[in-house]
Structures are given as C-alpha cells and as structure tokens.
C-alpha cells in the first residue's frame, strides 16, 4: 500500500458511502469521478445544476450532443426517468434541501465545517459557480481532497485563511489519508490509512483530531 491514496481511490472510498436511493450532486472535476465507483445495485440519481436530474455516463466520442451537458460542460447521456428543468427549479432542489449529498473539492476545510474552495484571493479572475448554493442546500456536504497541499501544508485547519465558500457546512472529508466527520465543530477521525499512526496524521492536520473508534481506511488498487 502506498503512503497516500490516489484521487481515484479517494473517489472510490467516498462512493462506498452513497446511500441507496440518494439524490447526489457531484462537483466539477475530481468529485465527478465518484460516479464511476458507485457500488453495484445501489440506485443513485445524479443532479446537475444546469437542469438535469438522472443523467448517465459520457457518450462515446463523436456522439456528443452539446445541448446535453453537465455543470462541467461535459457531454452526458440520460437514464430512463430523467427530467429537464430551468435553473430556478434546479437551485430550488439545491437550496430547498432536496439533495441528499453534494460532493466538492476544497482548498481548505476548518474544524467547524467552514469551506474555502472558490478563490485563492486577489490577482486572478474570481469564479464561484454553484458551489456557494450547494454547500448550504444538500443534507450532507462531502469534501474530497488531498490531505495536504502540494507544499505539504495541512488543508484541514483550525480556521480557513482563504475566502470562504460556506460557513459550517462540511459534514465529511474524504482525504488521501483519512475519512473525517465534522461533528459539533470538531474533526472526528473515522478511518485512517493502516500504515500511519494517529500522531503522524495529527501532525499533517491543522486542528485537533478527535479519535473515536478509528477503523482502517482500506481501498482497492485502482
């Protein structure tokens, strides 16, 4: 086992927690990968902000219909039972609490559930999309992320330093090293890589980890 999970392995781990019958929004990019690893026999309906419920996989190359895309502007297909709707209805689903799970990426997550994932500060073109709506709408907000930045700095922090996407919104973080629930404004460790000690993980985490019954984080080679 390597010293940290790949993005595909993080996505696989998050996918194992998708509830049967759930309505789920997968954020653009890395979170989209989760759909590939949905366990067999579990029915999940995917929502995309731009007005589709129950879309399916990408079509074969050359068969794209560019009026049938997801929020990441990638071509998709429809499952039987799909529906189209306009943007206000789409965000009524989001803001109105009708989604079971939204999954996003993160620059930083704070122990109280604050999330920063939309802006690295001044100097670039800011863009927010639907992230600020998703974090305050879905019943559960999951983050998938590397445990640390490229420079090795913790991404899980006492307080976020970057502009916030939402306040107290994240419920679970699936990282390259651990699965951590946010409970009563604390990081509660649910699973960690078996090869890593609690102290090592704490060292790579910017706020206190609460250890309950910690299980091993085991994923397949992908």
């Amino acid at each position: 086992m390597s010293t940290k999970l790949t993005n595909a392995q993080i996505a696989w781990r998050a996918a194992q927690d998708l509830p049967d019958g759930a309505y789920v929004n997968l954020g653009i990019g890395f979170p989209e990968m989760i759909a590939k690893f949905k366990p067999e026999g579990r029915e999940v309906v995917y929502h995309t902000e731009n007005g589709i419920l129950d879309f399916g996989e990408a079509p074969p190359a050359g068969e794209e219909d560019w009026d049938l895309i997801n929020a990441g502007k990638k071509a998709v297909t429809l499952n039987p039972g799909a529906a189209f709707f306009h943007h206000a209805d789409s965000f009524a689903m989001v803001r109105g609490g009708h989604l079971d799970v939204a999954v996003l990426g993160a620059y930083e997550v704070a122990e109280n559930g604050d999330l920063a994932n939309w802006s690295t500060g001044p100097g670039s073109v800011p863009a927010v999309g639907g992230a600020m709506d998703l974090v305050h709408g879905a019943r559960q907000v999951w983050v998938v992320t590397d445990h640390v930045t490229r420079k090795g700095e913790p991404k899980l922090l006492k307080h976020c330093s970057l502009p916030l996407t939402g306040v107290g919104c994240v419920t679970t973080v699936y990282t390259s090293l651990a699965v951590i629930d946010i409970v009563e404004r604390r990081f509660v460790l649910r699973e960690k890589l078996p090869g890593m000690s609690f102290e090592e993980l704490q060292f790579l985490t910017g706020a206190e980890l609460i250890a309950g019954g910690v299980a091993d984080l085991i994923v397949p080679e992908i």
Binding site: H47, F84, M93
Partner: protein, 238 residues
C-alpha cells in the same frame, strides 16, 4: 428507490396527529379525492390523524374531499385564500362556531410562500396586501420607491397530490388546470404522496415534459379513473 405504494391506505398510514397537510387542487380540479377519503376513513376507524392544519386554496365544497375532512372533525386550521366555495357549508358552520381556525392568505402570496418553502427561501417581499388588514403585523420595506410586505415561507409535513402520469422514480405530469398548486406543494412538503391516474415505466414520460421531477416525490399510488370533485358535486354526490 421504491416509491410505488400498493394501496391508498398504506400511502397515508403514517400521517400523524397535528401535522400540516398541503392538499393540491383549485376548486375540484386537482383535488386528490381518493387520498383524502383514505385519510378520512382512517380517521373514522382509528380517530387519527386529527388536529390537522390543511393548506389548500379553498376550504372544501359540499361534503366530499376537504369538506369531508372538516365534517369528520379532523381539521383544526385551514390556510387558504378563498374559503367561500360554491357550497362551503362544512367550513362555514365550524368557522362561525369558532371550532376551526383560519389563516387567510392572498392567492399569489400563498403560491409564492409554498414555492419559497420548497426552494429554501425563508422570506421574500411582495407588493400584495401592502396597506391592508392582511399585512398587519408583518415587516414592510421600501424598494425603489415602492412599499412591500415581508412574507415567510410555508412548508408542510405532508402533501397530497393528484397527478396524471407518474413513473417509478416519481416524475409527474398533470392534467390541464388540475396542475395549479400541486407542483409547488410537492416541493414544500417533507413527504409528498401522489395519486396518479397511471403509473408508467421510467422513460415513458419525455424528460422535456416532466412537470414535477421525482426528487420532490416520496410515494406514488395508482388510482385509475379517479373521481373529480366538481363532477361529483354536480352529480349530487355528497
């Protein structure tokens, strides 16, 4: 995703005392008569669910549908815009006797409050009712030189809805003007229970024609050839 329920009794079996129930329909168009009567029969059998708050545009007509609920004594409060129907006896009797409460809401405000409940909007401003009795006690504010009243969202524990087609995933279509409040109520209730004239396979409803996407629907029971409230009243059915 088992949204299809075998029979009407099962569909309404867990509705509890004291909850709020949105009921689709405007006059007789869209009134889910079979679901309502299943609830009335359950109340007759078991004494439950009572003390309900019912949200509908009207307050019952004749002695069927919501009027039957009122006559049975299940309804503590009506939230509606127009409690004077063609034959509003059931409500009028109890209201004038002080045995049922009324929250009167302008029709467009009622629709928008229900939509807001479904869309996660806790409050909004509307010009409707400004300067009238129905705005008393509500915050007001000026925007761009005009005065508006602040209204709150309206949610419910349960919605009872009549649809035309439903698929296993809960996607719905409606029939003509029977649509009215139903798509909004489906959004605003914790549990949305639908009687559909026909249950079809997923994919049988064109994704372009879905009016209520399945995400807003919890239970569907098929009721072929449903009764129509207005038609029943005109037949003299009571």
């Amino acid at each position: 995703m088992g949204k299809i329920i075998a029979d009407l009794d099962s569909a309404v079996a867990d509705i509890a005392d004291g909850v709020s129930v949105m009921i689709g329909g405007f006059g007789g168009a869209g009134a889910p008569i079979e679901l309502i009567h299943a609830l009335v029969e359950r109340y007759g059998r078991t004494g439950s669910p009572g003390a309900l708050t019912v949200i509908n545009n009207n307050a019952g007509n004749g002695a069927i549908g919501i009027a039957a609920m009122i006559d049975a004594g299940m309804v503590a409060k009506m939230v509606c815009s127009f409690p004077r129907s063609s034959d509003p006896r059931a409500f009028t009797e109890r209201y004038l006797a002080g045995r049922i409460a009324l929250e009167l809401v302008p029709q467009g405000t009622l629709a928008e409050r229900i939509r807001a409940g479904g869309a996660g909007i806790p409050a909004f401003y509307t010009p409707t009712s400004f300067g009238t009795q129905l705005a008393e006690g509500k915050p007001v504010a000026e925007f761009e030189g005009r005065m508006y009243v602040q209204e709150r969202w309206l949610k419910a524990d349960v919605a009872l809805i009549k649809a035309e087609l439903a698929d296993r995933k809960g996607n719905l279509t409606y029939r003509k003007a029977a649509r009215n409040f139903s798509p909004l109520m489906a959004m605003a209730a914790e549990t949305t229970i639908v009687q559909a004239s026909r249950v079809v396979e997923p994919g049988a409803i064109d994704p372009e024609h879905v009016v209520t996407p399945g995400i807003f629907v919890n239970r569907v029971v098929e009721v072929p050839d449903p009764r129509q409230e207005e038609a029943l009243l005109r037949e003299g059915s009571r």
